[in-house]
């Protein structure tokens, strides 16, 4: 079979499953749980077979990369949006990992979410995520990468708000969405800058060698500008300092989604972006140093705050953050192969940990039983070497997650909201000045007047 078709099939299978499930539901047909589960299992089984076939086919043919040009998506004068899929030594392991882990999480979720009112919604979003992440890893240009990138972000947010009957998950989802969108500006502008400087965003035209080669057609200050913009986008997705505050909030979603998004794939998308843009980073010393410093700060922050976390999922989130910081440092040091291995290993281990998190107490008791009694006490950490007052101060700092959110809220979010509120207040006054009070305000005024009249009447009675 032609390997190009296999690559297209791998990406399209989850997309088609999503489309079939979504459209049928929208038009009024609600498939049963078993049908949804079987369709999803079939989709990822076929994708896994296709991935294995593709990998073996490429090895046999001695190919280190496969590019599938699918023509022009749309064209206006000289501007052309190329539609192109590509796998190479960087993306193929990640494609295999994605197919495997999304499939495993799908199987796990069938029982975990059995009879949950959101069962169908979860599988819809899981398939959309599968499509998004596979698109992200297999595209041949940064233009198209935005598509996969945004789909991953959107599904992530919708799954954080999965338990929609409570207000907190919804508020946290909004917060995560705001962080994602802020950082995505970096990717959007970065891609346009690539067009501006290199007149293309195709990997084959931007980079002179196949991955992990280092040559790029960008030069001079343009590498620093584009590298900086891509780094901002990667920092958002990979929860790097100072954009790390969203990760513990994302734990509001169901455990399988936490596993696949924040343990396995979504958080590694930022690292993938940097690995893909490695030649651009390599060309700018400043950007390499920035990646190392950000990674180091994130690793320290993650391990420090993770020690004060009281629940399993948040602890795992901070453990992920620590590892992501180390992966960023590896990328900054140019250890690309090590970073790729680290991503794959970390994704698998963390998925297992997340999926076992709901039965952690059971596991704990089993370990005790296997050890033939209680295990020895832990807690003798290096912190004990510090004076008690400093320990207390550090504990409070860790509990408030390094004051990151507090800082962002007070010095960035609050001033913007204050400005928006002032302008909005002026708008309302202006509108009322030119066309009288609004219906809502009239009702409020009437209600106030009613209360006032009632008060007067009561007073009269008393008199």
């Amino acid at each position: 079979m032609n390997l190009s078709y296999l690559l297209c099939a791998i990406v399209l299978l989850p997309g088609l499953t999503f489309a079939a499930l979504g459209l049928s539901w929208l038009l009024g047909w609600q498939p049963r749980e078993r049908a949804v589960a079987r369709l999803t299992a079939l989709c990822y089984s076929l994708a896994a077979v296709a991935t294995a076939w593709l990998w073996i086919g490429m090895l046999k043919a001695g190919q280190i990369s496969l590019t599938v040009p699918l023509g022009s998506w749309f064209r206006v004068e000289e501007y052309n949006f190329p539609l192109m899929l590509m796998v190479d030594r960087l993306s193929l392991p990640l494609v295999a990992l994605s197919v495997l882990l999304v499939g495993v999480v799908g199987v796990f979720s069938v029982r975990y979410l059995h009879r949950d009112p959101g069962f169908h919604r979860f599988f819809l979003l899981l398939n959309l995520f599968g499509f998004g992440i596979l698109l992200l890893f297999t595209v041949g240009s940064f233009d198209l990468l935005i598509g996969g990138w945004e789909l991953v972000g959107l599904t992530s947010v919708l799954l954080i708000a999965f338990f929609q009957h409570r207000d907190e998950p919804v508020k946290n989802a909004l917060r995560v969405f705001a962080t994602y969108r802020t950082c995505d500006i970096g990717l959007l502008v970065g891609v346009v800058m690539m067009h501006h400087y290199a007149h293309s965003t195709e990997f084959s035209k931007l980079f002179t060698q196949t991955w992990p080669g280092t040559g790029t057609t960008l030069s001079g200050g343009s590498t620093t500008i584009v590298g900086f913009l891509l780094l901002v986008a990667a920092m958002g997705k990979a929860a790097q300092v100072p954009f790390s505050g969203w990760l513990p909030r994302a734990m509001e979603g169901p455990t399988p989604s936490s596993a696949i998004f924040y343990g396995a794939l979504s958080v590694h998308a930022g690292a993938y972006l940097l690995l893909r843009a490695q030649p651009i980073l390599d060309a700018s010393i400043l950007m390499k140093e920035a990646v190392i410093v950000i990674g180091l700060l994130t690793a320290l922050h993650g391990t420090f705050v993770g020690r004060a976390c009281a629940d399993a999922k948040t602890s795992l989130a901070y453990a992920s953050m620590t590892q992501l910081g180390i992966i960023f440092m590896e990328i900054g040091f140019g250890l690309t192969w090590l970073a790729l291995l680290h991503i794959c290993g970390h994704a698998v281990v963390r998925t297992l940990q997340f999926l076992r998190a709901p039965s952690m107490l059971h596991d704990f008791h089993r370990v005790h039983a296997a050890a033939g009694g209680h295990l020895g006490e832990t807690g003798a950490h290096y912190e004990q070497l510090l004076p008690e007052s400093v320990q207390g101060w550090l504990y409070r700092l860790a509990l408030d997650r390094g004051h990151h959110d507090t800082f962002l809220d007070r010095f960035i979010v609050a001033p913007v909201i204050r400005l928006a509120e002032s302008l909005n207040r002026f708008e309302i006054y202006w509108l009322e000045y030119i066309s009288g009070p609004s219906r809502t305000r009239r009702r409020r005024l009437a209600a106030k007047a009613g209360v006032h009249r009632f008060a007067q009447t009561t007073e009269d009675v008393h008199v």
Partner: protein, 489 residues
């Protein structure tokens, strides 16, 4: 190559709408009137689809109607907007809650539709001006959209709409007066570029720009839209706004007929559009009333169209024309879903807490979410190519200003999700329990609208082709403004 249609599709489409408006007005029963209106709009849609199809077969040319004095024409610029607007009007008529629909309401929608279609297809400035004025006529009289105990169009909105019509009228008169050739046909011709930047042409451009400024609700004239959305009839106002006649006036008149003045002045209008988009996106952060949020979102996203038109290059102009389609369809979805929810709840929604409507109306929630996200450029929807083209076009011409565009999109995306969360997520209140989900008629129409956005996003080349051709033609006026260009071929 023929330059005439085989049949006067557009005249028939417009006349069917007007005739149905007159018939429906006198009908005693709303349900019968509704069926008549739907039939008339479906017929108009079929005729306009036929016109667009015939025009698309003759690449690079504009077709003029036979028989009736060459009043109407179709080219790459209006090839998609014509059937799209008829489809939107049909959709709005089907989706409108039965409680709100009266024969007079339907008559107003039919007049608005016919007038907008006539403005799109106008082959001369006089028809365009009269059609522009006719679009606002139903909003000026109390007898069309004002239902007992329902909201009414605020007088401020009426004043601004009237002012915009007066400005178009003055602009058209000055343009006719500034034409060197004699005769009515030459004076009001839209096929004859007026070279130079004389005082008369500058004044004509000024008045046309003011008309656009008022109609599009650019800063500081956006208040009429806020007042209209907050206090007026939402669906008809949405339809009026989604005609985007302001942007059309720029693309049909200001750019090709006054290329020299436009070359100088359009970037300023684009900057004003960007400022409006940024300002409204910012104040939306502090706004909690859903109707006002919808208005701010609509103004902000619609301002991008002017940003693209002011970018002076084909990518940006094509982006603007594609974005026009996205804004029209996506905003209509949002307004239709919101109106349905408001009618089901029975009271205006001005809550500041989460309403949790997704529990009982999950399909309406999905329609709202996808429509809203398409509006802000979600991948796999038509919004994505539109945003890509806009961003590319704007950043190429104005790199510093262009950076603001993704920031504004990010703010608007946050507003969409916040509005979605407020309406559909959270713990369901008493009012939300037992709320009816999308009815079959709503489901089919809204699914069709979503499919337009989704299929357009997956395979955008069909929907981008005509705007791209129009954009290439319009940008050629800006790159070589003084040359005598024949608009006919």
């Amino acid at each position: 190559m023929s330059d005439q249609f085989l049949f006067p599709w557009i005249s028939c489409g417009v006349l069917i709408g007007l005739a149905a408006a007159a018939i429906v007005w006198r009908m005693p029963e709303a349900e019968t009137a509704r069926r008549w209106a739907i039939g008339a709009l479906a017929a108009a849609l079929a005729l306009l689809l036929a016109a667009s199809y015939e025009a698309s077969q003759v690449e690079g040319a504009r077709l003029i109607e036979p028989w009736i004095g060459s009043w109407f024409t179709v080219d790459a610029l209006n090839e998609i907007p014509l059937p799209l607007f008829a489809a939107l009007a049909l959709g709005v008529t089907v989706l409108a809650p039965k409680r709100k629909v009266t024969p007079h309401w339907l008559s107003g929608i039919l007049i608005l539709t016919s007038a907008t279609l006539a403005a799109y297809a106008a082959n001369n400035l006089l028809v365009l001006t009269l059609a522009w004025a006719a679009t606002i006529a139903p909003f000026l009289s109390k007898r069309f959209f004002e239902i007992k105990r329902e909201k009414e169009t605020p007088s401020w909105s009426k004043v601004v709409l009237c002012l915009s019509a007066v400005c178009v009228l003055i602009g058209a008169a000055l343009l006719a007066a500034g034409t060197t050739q004699s005769g009515w046909a030459a004076a009001f011709s839209l096929s004859q570029p007026r070279a130079g930047t004389g005082t008369m042409l500058r004044c004509a451009f000024f008045f046309l720009t003011v008309a656009v400024f008022l109609r599009k609700g650019l800063l500081p004239a956006h208040s009429w839209l806020l007042a209209g959305f907050e206090r007026g009839p939402l669906l008809p106002l949405g339809l009026l706004v989604n005609g985007h006649l302001g942007a059309f006036l720029i693309a049909r008149v200001a750019l090709p007929v006054l290329p020299d003045v436009a070359h100088e002045a359009l970037p300023i209008l684009g900057d004003l559009g960007l400022l409006t988009a940024a300002y409204t996106a910012l104040i939306a952060l502090a706004e909690r009333q859903p109707r006002r949020l919808l208005a701010l979102l609509s103004i902000s996203q619609a301002s991008f169209i002017l940003v693209g038109l002011g970018s002076n290059n084909a990518d940006g102009i094509a982006g603007a024309l594609v974005h026009w389609q996205v804004v029209a369809v996506a905003t209509t979805i949002l307004l239709a879903v919101f109106t349905s929810v408001e009618v089901r709840l029975g009271t205006p929604i001005d809550r500041q807490r989460f309403l949790g409507l997704a529990t009982s109306a999950p399909r309406l929630a999905v329609f709202f979410a996808v429509g809203g996200l398409a509006l802000v450029g979600l991948p796999l929807t038509l919004g994505f190519p539109a945003e890509d083209l806009l961003l590319h076009g704007t950043l190429t011409t104005h790199p510093r200003l262009g950076v603001v565009l993704p920031m504004v999109t990010a703010l608007n995306a946050f507003t969409v999700i916040r509005l979605f969360a407020t309406l559909f997520l959270g713990r369901p209140g008493t009012a939300a329990r037992g709320l009816t989900d999308a009815l079959p008629r709503e489901r089919w129409v809204l699914t069709a609208a979503l499919l337009f956005l989704l299929i357009g996003g997956i395979a955008p080349s069909t929907l981008v082709r005509a705007p791209a051709a129009a954009a290439e033609r319009l940008s050629s006026f800006l790159t070589a403004p003084s040359q005598t260009l024949s608009l006919g071929k």
